[in-house]
Amino acid sequence: MTAPLEPRIAAYIASRVPGARDVAVDALARISGGASRETYRFRLQYTDAAGVPVERRLILRRDPPASLIETQRRVEFAAYQAFHGSSVPVPEMLWLEEQDDALDHPFFIAQELTGFETGAYNLQQPPYAQHQASYGLRKWTILGEIAKADPVALGLTEVMDPIAPDACWKRELDYWEGVLDEDEITPQPVIRAAIRWLRANPPPPAQKIGVVHGDYRTGNFLYDDKGEIHGILDWEMAHLGDPLEDLGWGLNRIWCMARDDRRGGLLPHAEAVAIWERASGLTADPAALHWWELFNCVKGQGIWVSSARAWTDNENRDPIMIFSAWLMLNPQDRAALELMGRL
């Protein structure tokens, strides 16, 4: 039987905070939403070196045995750190541990931003639905801020793989086609046709090499009930690349939670793109954006078949692995067909 986590977390933090005494962890609870990491919230209490009592609400993100998305936690941690305190709201990162000794798997610990929602479908219900335009404005403005950011100045070129502007598309397409080759359980004729089209019609070089969040969508940010966004989460697929990649993912049809044309269940396609262009100072060339939107159908299908594979191979039997696969595989095909004018 695995030892309780609370004392082990407390012991780890005690070793990382000089002078800390009476370190205690309680109220530990696993929370949902993290398909690629096990996510827990807990309360930390200790007395600091100056004798002052400290209490903090924190988040533990720990690697599972297998996940929806294979990622590097160091890159995720660095991305959060880079944007903390900027116009891109993110929680404060505290400790990164890449060894298994302390908690059996690598993990990081971060500030918990309390009192906010993340649920994608809640935005279609009161009291949130009346603020959809505000959430949409903030969502695509913040994505524009990410696109505008200088990865060199942020220090992210130290931890993220370099890429040339004309190589972004091929690296990403090669990677996700490889994921499909490795993980698909059933043939995917729609997505294979999309891959052939993408290779035959490559996009222009990226306008700039920017920070790509990698999973920027409704459901991956914290929001209040007044139309404001307070935290951008789930940076586990962050990398350097073409900023249009992120825009294309967020615009993907599969995130139309309102079941109409509003992207992310918030704003029409054209409005979202215009907001992003204003905030980023970049141009979303329609043909290039179309390429990246279709590419993101390939990427999405790569994620969904990987989750089905992990469940099938008994690597991870969390219901989210099969739920996401069954729910998303067909809409993802339909999104690709629509973009190719074949639905």
Binding site: A29, S32, P187, P189, M257, D318, P319, F323, W326, L337
Partner: protein
Amino acid sequence: MKPDENLVLADFAARFAGEIAPQVQPAYLAAAIGMSAGILGMIAEDWDRSASRRVEENRAVRGLFRDAAGLGLEAGLAARLAALAEGNDDDLRLSALEAGNEALRAALIDLHAAVEAMEGAAAKALNDAIWRELSASTQRRRLSAGSF
């Protein structure tokens, strides 16, 4: 069996999501039960059509393979398609229908790629027919919970 399987599954899904999950702590387990309910709901929705949609699709794809005869495809691919076109769905177990469907759709990928690279009206017509079948295949698989 009576009551019908799809009705039983749909009822379990509704009870898990509406009655059980809201009373479960911690939130992670409640969410896991809610997602399990969602999975049961999807199975319930697909249950009645499971065999018919596979048979319909297998017939449609075999028809495309028959239409490909005479196009001048590479000999190995042409022979493979001809053999698959001769298949049948006499075994109505879902596992057998699904195995047949996977073999057909794998070959359909190769046919589609080959036809895309060919010139001529016949190739274009078959290409269009393949696209229509791909669109129809997503219609057969649609679930009410899907966003698109």
